[in-house]
């Protein structure tokens, strides 16, 4: 799958194709927040509430340009999702960003070592998102 290249310098949707972000979080409040932040920045957003659903969606139609996932989720953590994505030949090129409400250096290092693009502390701000999305092109 080719990744989209926005025509303009900023945002996700001002070129021919919008950047499509898959947001994964078991908290409905946090899903609403991250979706709003991303949509304000003109990204196309799909939200799911679990790693399992994320993998199902990625298996069906991987036109996803970036995954942003919570760390602490029941059944499958964001770290486990990250590993599964990086182990897959179809999905490994997709940048994965981890979000967490806890600032645990070991956790952060482990995620980055496993290939996470970035690690964001919650509550996530629009400036955090624009900072990392400018690298996803």
């Amino acid at each position: 799958m080719s990744s989209s290249r926005g025509g303009n310098g900023r945002g996700g949707g001002e070129g021919e194709r919008q950047i499509h972000v898959l947001a994964v979080d078991d908290s409905s409040v946090d899903r609403a927040m991250i979706a709003r932040i991303l949509r304000s920045a003109k990204y196309r957003v799909t939200t799911v509430d679990s790693g399992k659903k994320a993998l199902e969606l990625l298996g069906l139609e991987p036109d996803v340009n970036m995954i942003i996932t919570d760390y602490w989720m029941p059944e499958m953590t964001g770290y486990e999702l990250l590993k599964r994505v990086k182990e897959s030949s179809e999905l490994r090129e997709i940048p994965v960003v981890i979000m967490s409400s806890e600032n645990v250096p070991n956790r952060i290092n482990r995620c980055l070592a496993e290939g996470a693009e970035d690690f964001l502390l919650k509550p996530v701000r629009p400036s955090d998102v624009s900072r990392l999305c400018s690298r996803i092109r």
């Binding site: 409040v29 946090d30 609403a32 932040i37 304000s40 029941p74 409400s101 509550p123 629009p126």
Partner: protein, 180 residues
Amino acid sequence: MALHFSSAHPISALHPLLCFFLHDTYPEMEYASGLQRQLASMKKNLFDQGYLDEQFYQLEELQDESSPNFVEEVVTLFFRDSSRLVANIDQALQKYPQDFRRLDNFMHQLKGSASSIGAAKMKNECTSFREFCNKENREGCLRSFQKVKKEHAVLKQKLENYFQLLKQVGPVDKATHSGN
């Protein structure tokens, strides 16, 4: 808005437009600015008393024409989830032996959501609870949870009042401007 004096009133017989202006526009404007002051004061109290923190402003910043009710929607989601979590924790606390890990998981979720909407007092009480949980101090957990429940109920009431007032201020605000 209906004019509350009869056509037999001496002033209305002489200056109907003047009456309209005096009796209709001014009370409306006073009413509107009174509500706005009330709203501003309510909001200030919420922050001064520590119920809300700066994160709430972040929510407001995300609200715009494309998402005009964003703040209220997120707050509604929060109370839906938090009420469920509070009930789960209540139940879990009744059990013997205590599953502190499970309690901590619930409280982690509650704290996370509270933090996301800027519910500062709630967030702090959740932190206290988790400290007792980590020490497996059941009595401490029980006491702390009473505080969590109290903050939850108080915040819910205050924010309901706030959004109700916000709704009232909205339409009146438009009416006073449309009279120009």
